[in-house]
Symmetry: D2
């Protein structure tokens, strides 16, 4: 029964807010202090899929800062609420266990913004091939020590700066060639992590806007090693709303003249994004969705992210949508979103691990296209309409429920 499988979850950026909330959340679930609200996999439609139970997840990960999960959780609770004293008390043993599974991270080519929160990592100094090997050893060691049935790697590290992939990254051969040649100026940490994960046969989830496994060469790695992957940049707030709302304007043939989005946030991610090169990469994903969702695009759009320390993890976003309708009437919609970013993201991490382990178990490889609804810039999927992306996931669940009931047919249908 998959419910009893021991699934390892290896978090890159393991002491960040999202990681902390994910681990503390699993402990709170175990203790019966919270329910699975916010987890997509808890919806009726997915309950009959044979997914691994989050209560049995074992956590570990890489972290570039000198940090400790118990302290992170306490600080988070003090600044943002949500992690209440009851939850903190219940989660303490689990957070300590996970802290014991931390390994030092990598910060190579992450960008200036990261320097605001983390020092240069020792591992950065190794030649590239050794870096990848050392990361793989961390995974293997964790896997064997905890006798894990599978291990899923999730990138939750702060957004790297804007990155232009060299032409050679389009093919696995040349990609590996540059890596072997230690062309260190070309490889950001997220790409090295993804390489190590997939070469280790671990499913990989790129929760961030960093390049990670987005390159064609890395997709090829995924296929070669039989470990599925997915990304990029989970949508949890303002962009989620955009992809839910823009289709309404399109379906009613209302012409969006301007869509201005202004995001305020005050957590560590916000601090890193306050650095221009990091912000640029992030904004690109947030803004691009509109071009695809609005017929003829949007005449004018802009996204801003501003660092407002007092808000902590409570992302507050104002969007102003100016549109015209019949008879040239000019109207507007505006909304304000006020959400705890990490509490929105953490359950999706658990969902993605469950889906990734399930796909891996079923022999899937390459991009998990059915998970597009989780991402701002889903790999290999053109559709940005959140509702149609949701239908894609429901179709997948529908298909796999059927297959589960008829294992033979399921086998036959597999490539």
């Amino acid at each position: 029964m998959s419910n009893e499988r021991r699934v390892g979850v290896w978090l890159i950026g393991a002491c960040g807010s999202v990681s902390t909330c994910a681990i503390a959340g699993v402990e709170a679930l175990r203790a019966g202090l919270i329910d699975r609200t916010g987890m997509v996999t808890d919806l009726e439609d997915f309950r009959s899929l044979d997914l691994a139970a989050p209560e049995n997840f074992v956590f570990g990960g890489h972290e570039a800062r000198p940090a400790d999960l118990v302290k992170e959780a306490e600080e988070f609770g003090r600044a943002n609420g949500v992690l209440t004293p009851e939850i903190l008390a219940a989660a303490r043993p689990g957070l300590e266990r996970a802290s014991a599974n931390l390994r030092p991270g990598l910060t190579l080519n992450c960008g200036d913004g990261l320097r605001r929160v983390a020092p240069v990592a020792d591992r950065d100094r190794l030649p590239l091939p050794e870096i990848v090997e050392s990361l793989k050893r961390d995974l293997a060691e964790f896997r064997s020590r905890h006798a894990l049935d599978d291990l899923v790697v999730v990138n939750l590290a702060s957004a790297e700066r804007e990155f232009a992939a060299p032409r050679e990254f389009a093919y696995l051969e040349s990609f590996l060639g540059l890596l072997a040649a230690d062309r260190r100026e070309l490889f950001p940490a997220s790409v090295l992590y993804a390489t190590a994960a997939l070469e280790s046969g671990c499913p990989y989830v790129n929760f961030t806007s960093s390049p990670g496994s987005s390159l064609p060469a890395v997709d090829e790695l995924s296929r070669r090693h039989g470990a599925p992957h997915v990304g990029r940049d989970a949508k949890t707030g303002e962009t989620l709303l955009k992809t839910a709302l823009a289709p309404m304007f399109a379906a009613r043939n209302l012409r969006v003249l301007s869509w201005e989005g202004h995001n305020l946030l005050g957590n560590r991610d916000g601090l890193v994004l306050d650095s221009p090169a990091h912000k640029e990469a992030k904004l690109r994903d947030k803004d691009a969705v509109l071009r695809d969702l609005l017929p003829g695009g949007c005449v004018h759009s802009r996204v801003r992210i501003d660092y407002v320390p007092s808000l902590g993890d409570w992302k507050t976003a104002w969007d102003f949508i100016h549109f015209s309708g019949f008879l040239g009437a000019r109207m507007h919609l505006q909304f304000t979103w006020h959400g705890c970013d990490s509490a929105l993201a953490a359950p999706l991490v658990l969902d993605l691990v469950r889906f990734a382990e399930f796909a891996h178990r079923r022999g899937e490889r390459g991009t998990m296209r059915h998970l597009a609804c989780f991402f701002k810039a889903p790999y290999a999927v053109e559709e940005h309409n959140f509702h149609l992306q949701t239908e894609m996931l429901l179709d997948y669940a529908q298909e796999h429920r059927t297959r589960s009931r008829h294992p033979a047919a399921a086998e036959a249908g597999r490539p």
Copy 2:
């Protein structure tokens, strides 16, 4: 070529704001002053359907107030903008032509609220069978005078008060029996209009929250006379947003604790709705959608409509959505919608006439379920998710595009 068909549009409440904007809008289209922005049927997906051109529509209708379309349009422009002097100048001849096609309306059992805007109609005093006959004569006379290829009836009259249908309205036989027996206390005007339309073989669109053709007996009339119908209560603003946004909360398993909607508007509809029995009927439709869209419903919801004269036709709605996510975090989304109600509704009237005429021409009868995306409380459709309703309409278009290309196959496929 259907593009050249002369389609008559018979508007009940013919001098209201929506009617006025629809007629003036068609004239502005003819004059090239505006484009089809706001018309769903102008989207790429529907362009290849063989729909009648709105520029060839011929307008007439019933109106209970002593009113004139030119004056209405001028007043609308003064109060709300949108109908600019250029549009008014271009629309004047068309508005005058339509004014010549007006016939006195019916106000029987419409409720106290209507008394704020219209006197008791003379026709109310006739026995019920004579009322229906006189309405049918109006339609027949209009049809023949203008040599129309088809005639679609659209109910745009102010919302009637809350109505509880007697048991006998479940069956056509007993319904017609009560009508013949002149049980006048049981029949609101909208039901009599719908009866007259369908018995005349005219497709009928119930754009309002009034009962109209919503009764099983009237649906039977539609089937018997081969004229399709659809309703109820077009969604143009706050409810449209609700049905576009609530599925997002459901798909992410976020728990909506409270959804408060506060609508402000200042037009004639607002004045009628300021009367409690009218408001009740309207609010029911606006609130019900949430029950269906949120898993386990919404813990607490409320809709208010307040009359604010200075806003005129510019509906301004504030919705506050309180929800909880993972770890019990309580978050909120709020939005403000500021839209010209009639400029949002008018193009949908034109869309519905086009779809109704098309369906009639293809021999459809009974409820046009594929038009659910236009309505707050669609007849015979459980689905309230706007995006899935949109898919239903796209599927219909897809199917009929194919059929149009292979007319023989299309014939064969018809029941």
Copy 3:
């Protein structure tokens, strides 16, 4: 030194949210867990006044519900945050001490709404003169037991229903006559509490919209017994904003066409206000301020208060202000206020006690007009402009700072 005076604070509605926050807040101040943010008397301008220190306040009061301050505080913390575990731990002894000073309340003629939260009080059954005597005994007993230098009574009980004072309440003689005659249908609890307080020589603060000491007869009592009083209905959120913002529209000669205010809240006050007769009284105060602040009044205004349980103490208010300017341009301002009602009110309770004790010590009697800036419907003050009301308070402070420095001159200036 007044800083060391032992001032008793007798709270009517002693276990409500505001009381709970005030008492817990004083304990948190004592423990150094919080500072005086939110207390007006902590502003530079008032620091040199010789005000009593809140850290030395001794709390007691009347409460109509069977309730306990520790439990109330814990529940408040769970539902609303703010009272964090640290604060609760520090406040526990003080809350227990205050709980020991509770006496059963009175609910006579409080209205149906109160029945939702409290049973009929035993004391209601006594003849009126005995009720007043028993209340006075409670005050005297508290005062002597704790060896208090002074005792200030503050009404924090839930809003009573709308009340029309009989003509006889205009004069102290006839007022006392009706009381002696036990005309119990005429006396709401708040009036009896105020009578008992003032006859006991205790300054009285009417923090609520209930009649309390607002009657001319009761003002006469204040003068006769040398105990100053003040009221009515503290402004802490939406109305505060109204009185801060409306003067701006007036000063710029902008014409407010409509001002719609929509308040959502979910605490016990909200539950009581959900009863129509209670809401009416409350709304009157909230709406009246606009009439005085806008030249020629406001064409159209409305205030709504809706009970939204999930919000608890977090009042969320949306105001929409439609206005016109030069050239007839129609514009709007809207705001959303999201504040913890009791955390906003509690420090004002402490301020008012400090000011009332100070005034009493200086021999003031009758209405404390200089405190108008604290109230929605200040007794005997026409000015509703918050900024000018603030100037009145600053002038008072200025005058008394001077006097303090020259006590002889101060004496000479007193009537």
Copy 4:
């Protein structure tokens, strides 16, 4: 009777939106199409002052673009409403008359942003002393041709780029020395305009954020030539609200943690401000007010201005104010302002001309400090609280009403 005085109004940036609305507005007033709503001087408190009637104003001005007031007005009406066809028809003769009084402007050192809307002016090429002389000739010629009783110069030109005054601008002598030496790199157009106006004995109003008459040397010019002046940067929207609201937080000792302001606008000013150096100057004034109004300043504040073409003149601003209160409770207020910038500014231009002419007539010179309530960064006034600034103006009116009634006493009171 001053009501019949012919007052000339010389507008710098004479074909901009504010100028156009001011001139068209005066014509609409003359025609009885609008009333004086939006004009401060129309308030009861100022009616008894002996102010010149705006209906008798004669308009002329400098304009750097090749432009025509009739066309500007028509374009404004098309894009923004407000200038309706009726108003345009009534205003046409007046706009034509004013167009005849236009003279080519100056663009020296205005910054790159201005290049987006205007070419390099011919006059820029003259030596500085000749520029000033030529501007003075324009004023003199206008004055004599129209037999004006007085002439007020108002700077309404687009915001110049950030400007650092050289030390020598602190003294008139050295300022005039640099001007005579043709040190053209040091003098922005606005300073030259102000110099020409004051040397001509014309009162000068700096409605913009440009340096204009803000320099000590220019203030000395004002005193020497007996022409009063005032500035800087009229507050019409978001900053007005800030200076009306921030005092409320201060008066209640609420601690503002963050105040984020996001302004969207789409007119020519917005286009110029889209250039960084121009935006910087503007933002400084908008942000500085908070530092003065909040005790201990504001922990974090930011102002953004973004160019959104579809909005035209309809400035839309969202402000988010995060604050903490008693017990450390963190709360927020947010507002959205949606106003027609030029319709808000135009009546203030008329007010300032009236006040300036009145002051000139009474012999005032130097800064008109009583007009601080009109400006974001008032010359020589520390007070930013809008309500106290308003009191300053009321005090001035009070004083001068009295004097008007007793002319002898008034004379005696003059320096």
